[in-house]
């Protein structure tokens, strides 16, 4: 499809006696804004398509009737008057009419104090009691949503919410119902908002001008903006990195409400987690004092009955503090830090540096990640440092480094708008990267052909022009067949391949046998559909490929990613607008934590540990000699703990008990550690195995930079004070380092960032000042004038030959296939409202209210066959463990498949998962193992 071209024609007109020249197609409202003239309006919002329904913005263009400025396009020679007695009279009458049927109390006026209709009434000096117009019969309130109050009586039917829902977020929940006095906005088929398909993104409440749709209070009463401090920061959840303004009540030391703010990454949009999931920081269960395990709580083991794996009376919730806390005693910082440092030092001296290991976290900042890996490398003396990226995109990064020499995305997700074709594969984008999904949905509605390939029919599939519902784990076969078609029908870019790639002959040979007919047998997609989709992709002038954990979390994860890279190289879709490779990153700082070197094989900025040159560089920078051997990865470290080769660990913000595969094995491994120091904001399942627990600060209590999926480095600003004695993560790392004999001291996070950027060429030139307010993409050679480099590798790749390499791979089935005993396929992942191991989201009032309980998703026909009632329970067993949880009939899940979210400790998906690894990326196969499903009575 061809995208609409932007016009270059201009138009000159006069507004209130002043001349202005604007591009053709501009509205009077926008042209007036150019001149600094504000025209009143209710239904218009600059972010929405104008509809001109409220008529408040009428202006005089010298015609018989007045024109609505928000929709009327400018014309050459037009003379516009925005203010006159006649116009005032019209606007005043309209205001009176709207007020005659308006709610007595406006929830918006009570909360944020910015009801636009009441503001107009004040401007025109209208007394509501003096209005002599008939009112309707009254319209009800709908308080059913956990996050939004609906007051139909305060609705003026401006349709802003409908446009925000349909055209900004593409969730299509809101419409109108009825007519006359009875008309009002409605949700789905006129059901209460809380029962509708609303995903609680809050975009409607954000654009509503009146008291009809308002945010519910979360922890403290909502107050007007000007009575609160506003803090420009970012979202603590996913890799999209939405820009947020937090409105903070200083007296209550709490975030009151959150608003999206302007940024290329998010365009002021937010999802339910970003908008309503900030209150976990104020949860009473925050750790506030250092804790040391009591002598009588040895030998170590799990403490709560849930983590012990015992049966509990009822399911649910978080770590039971009553069961766990008695095993610990409060300590002073001196005592706790001395103990941690001394024990780690003892193990280092006794068993050597490689008996130590550290897990950092992709939820920590670049500064914390940099400092943590420096601690492990320079002070522990080992490269055994890794973090949860290993569990999400390690295979993608392995494939990218091997083929194109860089693990970074080659283009930003918002550029999907310039793509003729977008492929989304193995990504439940609408739930896992909701705001990135809005850009993809936008593009799909505006001329980009969207191809979705997945083993589940997820939300984004509903927006696809082509949806290929493949069999789980069959990716390589499908992509090889697509390449077979591209080569056979000569839909490849010969010039691009000649100039920028190598190894094509091997690929051509290998994919010869992958005819669409052969692939059909493996992936379940009819051969002619494979041909059709391959042609759509091959003929695209520009194509952008997005992928998620559905690609990476397999034993063939690296192979899957190699295929996607080959597809893109074959068609020359790199380095131009609307093209590229974009593995969507999971956590808010997955990209940054990897950039900062929380990886066992590389120093910051992917400088290889095994390279003597890099080693020398960092030895000089840090003033110590470094271990030249790459360290162990996450699962290898856990295996090391199990066999006793890893004896001491320091974990900053990780919770492997829930996040790592084969939970029963992790339990044994953690119990087997001689010493474990856990630094976190809550008592996690992992902390039950700790010797020392250090209370850290949450995202909202500290400064730091975070790098999103686009490579956009953004500053997270401190919004509130930390609770009790909690301290910055980076301070604690410095304390441990210094006590272990390596002096580490910084004045601020900013100073750490400066040290990091001096060692990481990709971040060169960036600092806190030039990163505000909307961040910069790395690399950014000229931060003073540029937003950074959006498109990478237009002229070759950072490989030895400068070329991108085709790595042909054969299809291999998953490691553990279904059989008679375990006939179903288990898939695991996230759901919209929750985050990883649930430590944050399950302590967020709104998110917990929406999704309080674990539920697996299965095909309704499978549930019927098993005799499971709607919302009944099932028992899931694999060769590694058993869990019991509710089952929800989900038509998008194919028969023979089960999807389990991994956020819920009482039904931990990772008790079931297989810890077998991809040989290259060392990523476990979270997305595929054989499982048995049985009907169960209840969760107990």
């Amino acid at each position: 499809m061809i995208k609409r071209a932007k016009t270059t024609q201009t138009i000159t007109l006069t507004i209130d006696g002043r001349e202005v020249t604007v591009p053709a197609g501009t509205t009077i409202w926008d042209a007036a804004k150019e001149l600094g003239i504000e025209i009143p309006g209710l239904c218009h919002d600059p972010r929405l398509r104008p509809v001109g329904v409220c008529r408040m913005c009428v202006v005089d263009v010298g015609e018989r009737v007045l024109a609505a400025a928000c929709v009327r396009e400018v014309a050459d020679g037009m003379t516009v008057q925005t203010n006159s007695e006649k116009l005032e009279r019209c606007r005043r009458t309209l205001t009176e009419l709207l007020l005659s049927d308006y709610a007595t109390e406006s929830l918006r006026e009570q909360k944020t104090g910015d009801d636009a209709l009441l503001a107009l009434a004040r401007d025109y000096g209208i007394e509501r009691s003096a209005i002599e117009l008939p009112a309707g019969d009254g319209r009800p309130q709908d308080l059913s949503s956990p996050v939004i109050d609906v007051d139909h009586a305060a609705c003026i039917l401006c349709d802003r919410c409908i446009r925000a829902c349909d055209e900004v977020q593409h969730n299509n929940v809101i419409g109108r119902t009825g007519k006359g006095y009875g008309s009002r906005v409605s949700f789905d088929f006129n059901v209460p908002m809380g029962d509708s398909t609303c995903v609680a993104c809050g975009e409607c409440a954000a654009v509503c001008p009146t008291g009809a749709l308002t945010d519910k209070r979360l922890i403290v009463p909502i107050q007007p903006r000007n009575e609160l401090d506003s803090v420009q920061s970012v979202c603590p959840y996913c890799g999209v990195g939405c820009a947020i303004t937090y409105h903070v009540d200083r007296d209550a030391n709490a975030v009151v409400f959150a608003e999206g703010r302007e940024s290329p990454a998010s365009d002021s949009r937010l999802c339910v987690k970003g908008r309503y999931g900030f209150d976990y920081a104020k949860h009473p269960q925050r750790l506030t004092v250092p804790l040391i395990r009591r002598d009588d709580s040895y030998p170590k083991g799990p403490l709560s009955s849930a983590v012990k794996g015992e049966r509990r009376k009822k399911p649910g919730g978080l770590v039971d503090y009553d069961e766990v806390m008695p095993a610990f005693r409060e300590a002073t910082w001196e005592e706790a830090l001395d103990l941690a440092a001394n024990r780690l030092k003892e193990i280092k001296e006794k068993d050597g540096p490689s008996a130590l290991a550290g897990f950092g976290s992709a939820k920590c900042s670049n500064e914390e990640a940099y400092l943590f890996q420096k601690l492990v490398r320079a002070v522990f003396g080992t490269n055994n440092v890794d973090h949860c990226t290993r569990l999400c995109h390690a295979s993608s990064v392995a494939a990218l480094l091997e083929t194109i020499g860089s693990g970074a995305v080659t283009n930003v997700f918002a550029d999907v708008h310039n793509a003729d074709v977008a492929v989304v594969t193995g990504s439940n984008t609408t739930e896992n990267h909701p705001v990135a999904a809005t850009f993809i949905k936008d593009a799909a509605a505006d001329g980009t052909t969207l191809i979705v390939i997945d083993s589940r029919e997820t939300g984004i599939a509903r927006h696809a022009h082509h949806f290929l519902h493949i069999k789980a784990g069959s990716d390589v076969a499908l992509y090889n067949a697509m390449m077979h078609v591209l080569i056979e029908e000569d839909l490849v870019d010969h010039d691009y391949m000649r100039d920028f790639t190598e190894g094509f002959d091997g690929l051509r040979e290998l994919v010869k046998k992958y005819t669409p007919e052969m692939a059909q047998e493996i992936c379940g997609i009819p051969a002619d559909r494979i041909r059709e989709v391959a042609r759509v992709f091959g003929r695209a002038g520009s194509a952008l490929v997005f992928w998620g954990m559905g690609i990476s979390q397999h034993t063939t994860g690296t192979d899957n990613a190699r295929c996607l890279i080959s597809l893109v190289l074959l068609t020359g879709n790199v380095g131009r607008p609307g093209t590229g490779l974009h593995p969507l990153r999971g956590q808010n700082n997955v990209q940054g934590a990897s950039d900062a070197g929380l990886i066992p094989m590389v120093y910051p900025d992917y400088q290889k540990v095994a390279s003597p040159e890099s080693q020398k560089k960092f030895e000089e920078a840090w003033g110590v000699s470094l271990d030249p051997n790459p360290g162990l990865t996450v699962v290898e470290i856990i295996n090391g703990a199990l066999v006793g080769s890893i004896k001491g660990m320091y974990m900053m913000g990780e919770n492997p008990f829930l996040s790592d595969p084969n939970g029963n094995k992790v339990r044994k491994a953690l119990a087997n550690l001689e010493f474990l120091c856990v630094q976190d904001i809550f008592l996690t399942e992992t902390a039950e195995f700790a010797d020392v627990i250090l209370p850290a600060t949450s995202f909202f209590e500290k400064y730091g930079t975070y790098t999103n999926s686009d490579r956009r480095v953004q500053v997270g600003q401190k919004a509130i004070e930390p609770p009790g004695q909690a301290r910055f993560d980076w301070e604690l790392v410095c304390e441990i380092a210094t006590r272990m004999g390596y002096s580490m001291s910084y004045k601020s996070a900013e100073e750490i960032f400066a040290e990091f950027t001096s060692l990481a060429p990709s971040y060169s030139g960036l600092d806190y000042e030039n990163l505000k307010p909307a961040g910069k993409l790395w690399p950014c050679p000229d931060p003073a004038t540029s937003d950074g480099v959006q498109l990478l590798f237009g002229d070759g790749f950072p490989t030895e030959s400068g070329r991108g390499k085709f790595v042909p791979v054969d299809y291999q089935p998953a490691a553990e296939l279904p059989d008679d005993e375990y006939p179903f396929i288990l898939n695991t992942g996230r759901i919209l409202e929750h985050w990883h191991t649930g430590t944050m989201t399950r302590r967020s009032k709104a998110l917990d209210a929406i999704e309080p309980e674990a539920a697996c998703q299965m095909n309704p026909d499978d549930l019927t066959e098993l005799g499971v009632d709607p919302d009944g329970y099932v028992k899931l067993s694999t060769r590694r463990g058993t869990i019991t949880l509710r089952a929800r009939g989900t038509p998008g899940v194919a028969r023979g498949n089960v999807f389990v979210p991994f956020h819920f400790r009482e039904a931990s998906a990772n008790i079931l998962t297989n810890d077998v690894l991809d040989p290259f990326g060392k990523i476990p196969e979270f997305k595929f193992c054989a499982v048995k499903v049985e009907k169960a009575g209840s969760a107990a």
């Binding site: 419409g175 008309s183 949700f187 789905d188 088929f189």
Partner: protein, 179 residues
Amino acid sequence: MSDAMHAAIAGAQPSQRAEKNPDAPLFEGVYKERFDSILTRYPNKRAALLPVLHMAQEIRGWISPETMTRVAELLELTPAYVRSVASFYTMFALRPVGRYLIQVCVGIGCDLCGAEEVTERFLELTKTRIGETSDDGKYTVVEVECLGACAFPTVVQVNDQVYENVKAEEVESLLKELD
């Protein structure tokens, strides 16, 4: 039937809604042809919504949420938008209705000539309230705006059949006639 009250087309009988199958496939076979031909009459799919809804009601007897979802898919609209339109027009039934949908005109002419009593009588005899369906599934009585036959008050439309000059005392015989 009295001389005064008569069906607008002599001898005509209203078609029964009992033949409607609420689960009937939408827009297949002959209906698919009609659907396609409707689309050719309009510049875009959105504009075809009203005639498509009429046809859906003709097939299924009422406009269910499932119907609206399907229509939305076919016309590339949001389900909520389809419902907005369907809920605006009283001729679309958003709830299942009886085999006989009795629509009493309450426009100004009929209202002055006793429409209220006619309605009351229908409700009394069918033992229902406005918009509800009788226990035997036969009748649903609704009030509608002007049916465009103001010279013959009170006007009553049963399914697709119009009755003119209906008086309260004639309602019983009208109902009998339907059986």
